[in-house]
């Protein structure tokens, strides 16, 4: 068995923060561990096979963390694993009761709302792109040759598809905002 494995598009598959945390936790239990999460980890991350670990992972969204953000987590014994855009990943080894970073319903909802807003920004950007491409396509249709037409159609189709996907993500996080 290879002692490395890659996970593709993990953040796009496990879109609910609590599911992402659980996915990382389950992998760690099977001995698949990661040393560092970086900017591109949402697309591809590589796990190394080590001894199984009992980690509690936390997914936190902070668009503008203050300078005591990391210090606060570290004081509580959380290890900083890395960051993908504004998403911070923390973990803590445990035995017995599963540690929580968000200890009441209000702060769990706030965390999930922050994630939802971040996805909404991308949703709006992709929607604007799709609509702009469609409008240009219609306005300039008479001047386009076949290859231009194909490029436009591909461009707005992909943008609409991704907008739809992001809409699905927003709705799924909203439905699961309590956990």
């Amino acid at each position: 068995m290879s002692n490395k494995k890659a996970a593709w598009f993990s953040a796009f598959i496990n879109v609910v923060p609590a599911d992402y945390e659980k996915w990382l936790e389950d992998l760690a239990l099977q001995g698949w561990n990661i040393d560092k999460i970086g900017q591109w980890s949402s697309i591809r991350m590589v796990f190394k096979h080590t001894t199984p670990k009992h980690y509690r992972y936390v997914f936190d969204m902070q668009a503008a963390p203050k300078k005591d953000y990391k210090a606060t987590y570290e004081q509580f014994g959380w290890e900083f694993v890395g960051q993908m855009a504004s998403a911070f990943i923390w973990r803590k080894e445990y035995d017995g009761e599963r540690p929580e970073s968000f200890s009441d319903a209000e702060s769990v909802i706030k965390r999930n709302t922050n994630v939802m807003y971040a996805v909404m920004v991308s949703f709006i950007l992709f929607l604007i792109t799709a609509v702009a491409l469609t409008v240009c396509f219609i306005l300039f249709f008479n001047t386009l040759n076949l290859s231009d037409i194909l490029q436009y159609v591909l461009g707005f189709t992909l943008s609409y598809l991704f907008t739809l996907y992001l809409g699905y993500v927003i709705n799924k996080i909203r439905k699961n905002r309590l956990r």
Partner: protein, 105 residues
């Protein structure tokens, strides 16, 4: 922010918010707040790092608490005058509930 807006925003407040504000009658940092509240509630409430960070941001943003100093990247906070006004009003509200439940039990 004027006191009327603060009232609307914070009263009634969550148990977490109340205990954090209450504990900042003395200067404390995040971890110190967690320990204090845990002891005060006999281990019933164990505040998490994310919850404390969020709550401190909100309380500081609305001027209910303020940072007084920093010890190796840890910010130490204390309640402000506006924070104390809100805390006392909330305490009175809870006292009213307390009187009600006393009759009930």
């Amino acid at each position: 922010m004027n006191i009327e807006k603060l009232r609307k925003r914070f009263i009634p407040m969550s148990e977490t918010m109340f205990y954090i504000l209450y504990s900042l009658q003395e200067e404390r940092h995040g971890y110190g707040i967690m320990q204090f509240v845990k002891e005060l509630t006999n281990g019933r409430i164990v505040l998490g790092a994310g919850t404390i960070y969020q709550s401190l941001c909100k309380l500081e943003g609305d001027g209910l608490i303020e940072p007084v100093k920093e010890e190796d990247r840890k910010k130490i906070y204390v309640i402000t005058k506006a924070g104390r006004t809100i805390l006392l009003e909330e305490a009175r509200r809870i006292q009213e509930i307390y009187r009600c439940v006393e009759g009930l039990l």
